[in-house]
């Protein structure tokens, strides 16, 4: 059983988490949904396309102008409340590493805190626990928020990701976060070069074997771009190939830009793996 804030998910089926950026500078959409109404239109669109979760972010992951906590709260705080009012049953995640931001958005009705920076703020788990919310525990190889890897190496990148994310999960558990509300994420490209991200993809089943539900964030990332020689706008097929591999390995949540395409690939792969019945099969069975 998975419990993401107000929603309990008992069927074990994979979930699509749609990225909603309230940022002027994120790498893929380049500010297309920075304005509040544009971000809200994006929420409407991804819900219509079948997203189970929206992941609202107010700070670009990569380098860029400083966004302090007050500005981040201005971007995502009341917006979460607006989405909650419009979609009472939607699972709302917020992409933040700051406990002060998490406190505001949980108060506005967020279900999940997606800490892409691996527990940089030690008080984050306490806020998540106080609000009975869920947390995503990522592996960043020790990088500070908004920094890129430089000559970072691992003896065993998957072993390192498992050790870091499960340690973070245990820390969340100890802080009082419900066991079924803790998700781990190897964090492709965070603290990882392309070879690392490919290996994490190939060995995702080892993370699944930890027993913690696994989230993967693959969408249009540089490891896809470098592998295929494609710029950000041309990485969908590569992303979907990685998605299928992760789905075969049993990853449960997919954080993505393209909802409809991901939904089909993940559902198809889960059905191939024998974990999801076909939607409606009658051919040869009538």
């Amino acid at each position: 059983m998975l419990k993401l804030g107000h929603r309990e998910l008992v069927d074990g089926l994979p979930l699509v988490m749609a990225i909603v950026n309230r940022t002027p500078d994120s790498f893929y959409d380049r500010g297309a949904t920075f304005a509040e109404d544009a971000a809200f239109a994006r929420v409407e669109q991804v819900v219509d396309e079948g997203a189970d979760i929206v992941d609202i972010g107010g700070v670009r992951a990569g380098y860029g102008p400083v966004v302090d906590a007050d500005e981040e709260i201005r971007r995502v705080g009341s917006f979460v409340g607006r989405v909650r009012s419009a979609y009472p049953s939607l699972i709302i995640s917020v992409d933040t590493w700051r406990s002060e931001v998490a406190r505001v958005v949980c108060g506005e009705g967020a279900d999940v805190v997606n800490d892409a920076w691996g527990g940089h703020d030690p008080r984050l788990v306490d806020v998540v626990a106080e609000h009975d919310a869920a947390i995503v525990c990522t592996h960043t190889g020790g990088l500070r928020p908004r920094t890129d890897p430089h000559r970072q190496e691992y003896d065993d990148v998957v072993g390192a990701a498992i050790a870091a994310t499960t340690a973070y999960a245990e820390r969340a558990l100890a802080a009082g976060v419900a066991k079924e509300s803790i998700v781990i994420d190897p964090a492709h490209d965070f603290g990882k070069n392309t070879f690392h991200s490919l290996e994490v993809t190939r060995r995702i089943g080892e993370m699944v074997d930890t027993g913690w539900p696994v989230l993967v964030s693959l969408s249009n990332k540089d490891f896809v771009g470098e592998t295929l020689g494609r710029p950000a706008g041309e990485r969908l097929l590569g992303t979907l190939a990685a998605t299928a591999v992760c789905a075969l390995g049993g990853a449960l949540i997919y954080r993505v830009h393209q909802v409809r395409e991901t939904r089909d690939v993940v559902d198809m792969t889960w059905s191939i793996a024998g974990r999801r019945p076909p939607l409606r099969a009658i051919r040869g069975l009538a």
């Binding site: 999801r276 019945p277 076909p278 939607l279 409606r280 099969a281 009658i282 040869g284 069975l285 009538a286």
Partner: protein, 171 residues
Amino acid sequence: MTRVALVPGVPALLPAYSSLEDPVAPLRAACLDAVAWLGPAPRVIASAQGSRVAAALLDEVASEAERRAVDDVAHHPGVLVVGNGSARRTDVSPGPFDPRALPFDDALFAALGGPDPAALRSLDAALAEELWADVGCFGELADLLGGASLVGVDYDDAPYGVQYWVMRWRA
């Protein structure tokens, strides 16, 4: 009195072939009600594949038994017969369209509804095979229906170009 029910041998009714959205939901509901009406442990008359469908329905009814109200207890064990009409009725049927399929099914339905055991016994087995109709057990059904009365036609449709009936008799 013996209760007799007919259901079609539709593989989509098997748990191994279940979908997220049931493509035969109304048929399944009618089958389960009819099987429940038979009471516990009915005798099954079916082909090998039909027997698997019957077993699945019996299992489902058994697992639902607590929330099903049984109207009255049958004095004799019921009989569950598995069979159906033609699978060549339309352009989208599993088998290619055959214009003889509809009249064949109409005559068969009339014989079942009567019931008319003599007409059931005199079914053209070769034609039935050509029309992909599953009537191999209808001879035994005819033997059961002498003096029987029709209780109800619970399902009479061909949603995928195969004629299904769920029918019940008291014999």
